[in-house]
Symmetry: C2
Subunit: 387 residues, 2 copies
């Protein structure tokens, strides 16, 4: 039988998601000479609509060029297929004679693959290849895309810290992340010592109190002469509501079809600026919303991340040969390697920051979290000591 692989990319793009795509196509070419590889445009939507691009027609050189280009080359989608949508996908996959479907994405994508497995009759291998800057997949030590985004955040906080040493004040950088604080803690990846940024870290995993925030900032400022804060878009109050819900008038909040508030960072940023204006009147305070900048940034593509993403794609082809499942980057004996795990372990689940990554009482990260980042993202430069 001729092998036919279908590949799709879903959810928010990353800087290295095309490494995974190219890794898979090149591995198919190596293992199954003459096999077809079809790319679905805009994820599952392209399968539903029969909108494919013939990836096996591309040269190795073209595939390597795609690999080095950030953001989903096939296009992406936010569609989360239900059982009916999955039936349409399955029909389309059979129509093109698919023997395997590799879907590159996060935990929702794993969920789609899980539904498809249940709807199919073992005639197609369903593989989830990991991708997310949120680093929130269970079973994974870390996820392709995360290290590059973390490198952007780490560099930004080193840089802003130097800026605010030169011209003192309060700075809050608002970082993508609805449920998991990994990317926000990356602000501390290249932290030099206790006196350098970030002085405070606020993540969705810990309740946010506006009163406590002002006290924390005041204390950090008096100790260090400046205060640099890393804050997740998804920070949540003690009542379990997103901070932005408590601080921003309801008519200014945008909601999606599921009633989830859109976390753009902008509204939260304005609310935080107002808190600082009222709580620390006269203080020089600046808030930036990093938004999309860390996600697929060509200036901070990390080479480890690129290599691991490529390897995850190649391994997805091996995973298909083994019958399907989810690919997870796992760390053991000093090395990170892709492993095959059951889809059900990953589908729809969120990996939160380990409890020991944060210190108990002062909105700072722990030695365990520092060690994690030293392993993933070693510092690439030496800075002068402050004069």
């Amino acid at each position: 039988m001729t092998e036919t692989f279908v590949i799709a990319q879903g959810g928010g793009p990353t800087a290295v998601i095309n490494q995974t795509l190219a890794g898979a196509v090149l591995e198919v070419r190596k293992r199954y000479p003459g096999a077809r590889v079809l790319g679905a445009r805009h994820g599952v939507r392209g399968i539903r609509d029969g909108n494919f691009v013939e990836l096996s027609a591309l040269s190795d050189q073209q595939l390597h060029l795609i690999a080095g280009t950030p953001s989903a080359a096939l296009g992406s989608t936010r569609d989360k297929p239900d059982a009916a949508y999955c039936e349409v996908i399955l029909k389309s996959l059979r129509q093109v004679g698919a023997t395997a479907f590799i879907n590159i994405g996060g935990n929702d994508t794993a969920g789609t693959q899980q539904i498809l497995v249940e709807a199919a009759n073992n005639d197609i291998a369903f593989v989830h290849a990991p991708k997310t800057i949120d680093n929130d997949l269970v079973e994974s030590d870390h996820t392709p895309g995360f290290i590059s985004a973390a490198e952007f955040i780490a560099g930004a906080f080193v840089s802003v810290d130097l800026d605010f040493r030169a011209l003192p004040g309060i700075y809050v950088g608002i970082v993508m992340g609805r449920h998991a604080g990994f990317l926000t803690t990356a602000a501390a990846a290249w932290q030099r010592d206790d006196s350098s940024a970030p002085h405070l870290v606020y993540v969705p995993e810990r309740a946010f109190s506006a009163k406590r925030f002002i006290e924390d900032v005041r204390e950090a400022q008096s100790r260090h002469g400046r205060c640099i804060v890393a804050m997740s878009e998804g920070v949540t109050s003690e009542d379990g509501r997103a901070v932005v819900e408590n601080l921003v008038p309801a008519d200014r909040l945008e909601r999606d079809a599921h009633g989830n508030i859109r976390l753009s960072g902008g509204e939260l940023g304005m609310a935080i600026e107002q808190l600082l204006r009222e709580g620390l009147p006269g203080a020089r305070a600046r808030v930036d919303t990093f938004g999309y900048l860390p996600r697929g940034n060509i200036s901070t593509i990390n080479t480890t991340d690129a290599r691991e993403a490529f390897e995850a794609g190649a391994f997805a082809v091996e995973a298909a040969a083994r019958g399907g499942g989810s690919v997870a980057l796992q760390y053991a004996n000093g090395a990170t390697n892709p492993q095959l795990v059951p889809l059900a372990n990953v589908a729809g689940k969120t990996q939160h920051l380990p409890d020991n990554f944060l210190l108990d009482d002062n909105n700072q990260i722990s030695a365990a979290c520092h060690a994690y980042f030293e392993r993933l993202l070693p510092k690439r430069f030496t800075l002068a000591e402050p004069l």
Copy 2:
């Protein structure tokens, strides 16, 4: 007579402002063995307060480490000294036996040097060494610090464009710049063709109309399937008021001692989001405020910029030997070199975008502007063509 140089850094830091500092100190060491070099902490404020650090005591190695570290190592200041303040500075300079004072900064810094020249009796050489991400100094082809900040912006827009190809929508990136649009036009430095970002560019040099903006976005979106916008913080309405003044309630605007509105980008961003919500209901629209991220970012230190900033510092020592003045990077016969120009030519003046850098009627940059960026900031990578 023993030479004594005093050096200070003023205004917003850049990624390479310490190259200029190190360039000057190492040149003094070469020309005047045994000379003293004093660094003033936090700019003119450090001179006023007698707060100096002995830069001539540092090793070459330490100076090279400082050179590679972003943001003003000596600290900076927003003080704009008047005649009385300058008298105090002059007294302090004489107290330490200064023979030359090199002040690294923008057009306000040149203004300070100009006041000092007039107050002194030719006993001290006053030099302005250029620095600004705004690229708004007259007499200069471009300014140290600009290319690195431009590289951040150029990379960000290439990346966001790829992101919005994958997940279509409207994106507005708000870029620092009160009076000059150079940094915002850098969004187009690595533009591939007419179909790639930025689709629209709004700078302070051209009047902004909210109605026209919505029409432009709608048209770009229908033509390209997405719309990526680069907008300066300082965009101004036809009535000459900052756009943020017309769109944001007065009580939310922060003003400085001179009555100037603080342009944080955040308020403008929220106002633009609201315009888009009302003008293009239901459209996916995202706004990010880049704020401090481009200014001294360690991830986008440009090597040409670093070299030119170092050379400008070394040349400042030559400029002192010639009696003082302003150092300007000028371009002639295919090369950029520092030249000595009169302080009065630069002091307090703003270089705006040349009129021919913008097309007349569609908020896009011209071939002349593209050529300028191709010379300053050649693309460092090849991206795959869209599939």
